[in-house]
Symmetry: C2
Subunit: 430 residues, 2 copies
């Protein structure tokens, strides 16, 4: 009788545990299992990859008229409006801007999107009640134009940025648009300012499409007016060349994103709250924040980049992991490109799988931690060297190998971007 | 032997459960206990209240010069710049603005805060790379000026808004300022536009102090330049008069804020991501979102208001609950005022305690759910009538009583605001 009671109690507790912890508990158990058994599926098990977001979004019925590239008007800067071009060595990230910008207005009351125009770079003139100033109704994308070794200028997978921008607009209550029309208009803008695309492979022209809600009323509601604009900035490497790998600050006290939020959308709201934490990282002698989530301290992002880990399985095979797109992670285009390249190479398995700080500590202790790096458009790929985590300092031997994966990925991506490697991801403009 | 094993296993599981669920599990157990035992401390047990945030913040060492009211300059609008005053019956929330605004610039390179100025209401002229457009480096406050029955104009606890604005600025990497200097400057602004303060107790002049980061560089970093400005908008009741109580949409799929985030700071980033959810509430025939958090679906906020519940304990006594300031909740000034008033009245206990949807359902079923309401500066107090929650529709009899608490609170607060009740919370200007 007592035995039966005891076993009933065990079963009850097990059920209760699942109920109480639901999401959290189950995820944690998965990670623990991975950590314990170290048995991952072989390459052949990996299903074919889908795009990380819908590549084409239905416009909501109330968006109205779409804008067209064919309607683009151009007003060139007068000679006195031209900006001096900075020396390539002086380029910091996003500090200098070119002579022209692209803008498209949206007014629901005027029927939807208005005609796109390229104008001299000039200040925005906005009502102080514009919703963008109060409720962060704003989103953006980050892209680059690269001047290839053949002199041609290329974008990199621009249709991905545009698709992501559209899903973000939808989530923000802002109007969606036709991706291809904006790509063509941005290509025209870059062509007009083409002398600003650096003549070197160590720099590029950063492209910043931005969409803001400008309706001048204080109600917390979607904005009936919006401004879509694109500005251009010649940029050097995001992190200084010759610098050592990143030193990261991992404090589980801070969270970048959470289930039911907007961590997987490129909205301004994901960035403002990080400034304070980034300052704390700097105060602690680190370069960037390593963002953790949950009671099990799973890794989500590093600074404003996706994060990757390469490690050695117990059987001696290598495997590359990156956190899955579970709503907490920005669906990065460099991230997607890395996963696809490694799939194609087929030399080691690559999986979108949660991993935790205790896994990193364990792999480090057992000498099986090979590389960690961040990936994003601005910095391409940034090797990680150290992680400060709850009093521990974990050394990551990313740069201690002869032919590290991060470098091979960096070279392949930049070879595609600068036209040394013929690839469908490169989009030649003009 | 078997019995011993079984009991060891039970203990193991119990320990594991606490470890696995840590925060979540423990919080949930607390709530369940409250729900089960229904035994709350008596009024005398309640400790004296502290301010919900520091009333005076040390300025960071690198903020530099502070601005002073004594340096305020005033440039009045020319007659052709004056706006027509709308009819009081036509007032919507935050749609019309007065003739003047207050602005104070901050430039670290110029030594800190510049001199404050009152100017005609005019558009802001900002570089398209200004950080406010990209990274939501922005925050605001909501206050009101009330024209009393005696003709005098009053603020309501303005030092609270200023203290909250300063802690928010600090969290946003924006410069802090001296609260009193801004209150005096805003009082001057309201005096200049005093004819805009409605001559009725059904309306007031909404005051919107706003602080934005305007440095025109694209790095995700704190802004070395900022603009602090205040605009004024005559407003009628936030919700239409004579309307029935609020119908709320409670979907645990969406989360407003989370531990390690900025849910307790009045930043733009807390609002942009809610627009989409608010739209979904409207599509579902509801007025506002009831924001839930956690696996136990605890109530956090309603729309952009704090939430209160009045219920009958098993012993027949009434008790007022509102969620605690655990980082997920905006520390509302109306919220704080309600708690203090109820403490003073001493007629029923009032506690800052987590409560969950299952508690609301249980109280409703047992006929012990008395009132629920939202509280905030814009809407003062809004009675809640229905909650749509996971297929259930919970009726809240807030307006079914003879002398409901929400109405007494509303009357007391507005009596203080409109000068019918002498109270230290009223701040007479001029």
């Amino acid at each position: 009788q007592l035995v039966r009671y005891a076993f009933q109690r065990i079963r009850q507790q097990q059920q209760q545990q699942v109920r109480l912890c639901s999401g959290h508990g189950i995820q944690q158990q998965t990670a623990l299992r991975v950590e314990e058994e170290d048995s991952f599926p072989k390459l052949a098990d990996v299903p074919p990859m889908a795009a990380p977001f819908p590549m084409k979004l239905e416009h909501a019925s109330d968006v109205g008229e779409q804008f067209k590239y064919a309607d683009l008007s151009v007003r060139l800067a007068a000679p006195h409006q031209l900006n001096p071009k900075p020396d390539v060595d002086d380029l910091a990230f996003g500090k200098y801007f070119t002579d022209h910008m692209l803008r498209v207005s949206y007014h629901r009351r005027l029927g939807g999107w208005q005609k796109p125009e390229i104008t001299p770079m000039e200040n925005l003139n906005l009502h102080p009640a514009a919703k963008v100033f109060h409720y962060a109704i704003e989103l953006f994308e980050g892209m680059k134009a690269y001047r290839g070794f053949d002199g041609k200028i290329r974008f990199f997978r621009p249709e991905m940025n545009m698709a992501r921008m559209n899903v973000t607009a939808y989530r923000s209550g802002l109007p969606t648009f036709d991706s291809e029309e904006l790509i063509k208009a941005m290509a025209r803008l870059v062509t007009i300012d083409s002398e600003w695309v650096p003549h070197t492979e160590s720099a590029s022209l950063y492209i910043r499409p931005t969409l803001i809600g400008i309706e001048p009323t204080l109600g917390v509601a979607s904005s009936d007016s919006a401004l879509l604009y694109t500005i251009l900035s010649p940029v050097g490497p995001y992190f200084k060349p010759g610098a050592s790998g990143l030193k990261l600050y991992a404090d589980p006290k801070y969270t970048r994103a959470w289930p039911g939020g907007v961590g997987d959308r490129k909205v301004g709201s994901n960035y403002g709250p990080t400034i304070h934490v980034q300052k704390e990282a700097l105060r602690n002698g680190c370069h960037q924040v390593l963002w953790l989530y949950g009671d099990d301290h799973q890794l989500t992002e590093v600074g404003v980049m996706n994060v990757f880990i390469l490690y050695m399985k117990k059987n001696g095979e290598r495997e590359l992991l990156t956190p899955p797109l579970n709503g907490l992670i920005l669906p990065g285009i460099t991230r997607d490109s890395i996963i696809r390249l490694c799939h194609q190479w087929g030399e080691f398995s690559v999986r979108e799988e949660k991993f935790t700080m205790s896994m990193v500590q364990k792999l480090s202790k057992e000498g099986r931690l090979l590389e960690m790096f961040g990936a994003g458009t601005a910095a391409v790929i940034s090797p990680i060297e150290r992680i400060a985590y709850m009093g521990d300092e974990i050394f990551v031997p990313t740069e201690s190998h002869d032919s590290p994966l991060y470098r091979r990925l960096y070279n392949t991506l930049t070879d595609i971007q600068y036209g040394k490697l013929e690839h469908p991801w490169a989009y030649v403009i003009d």
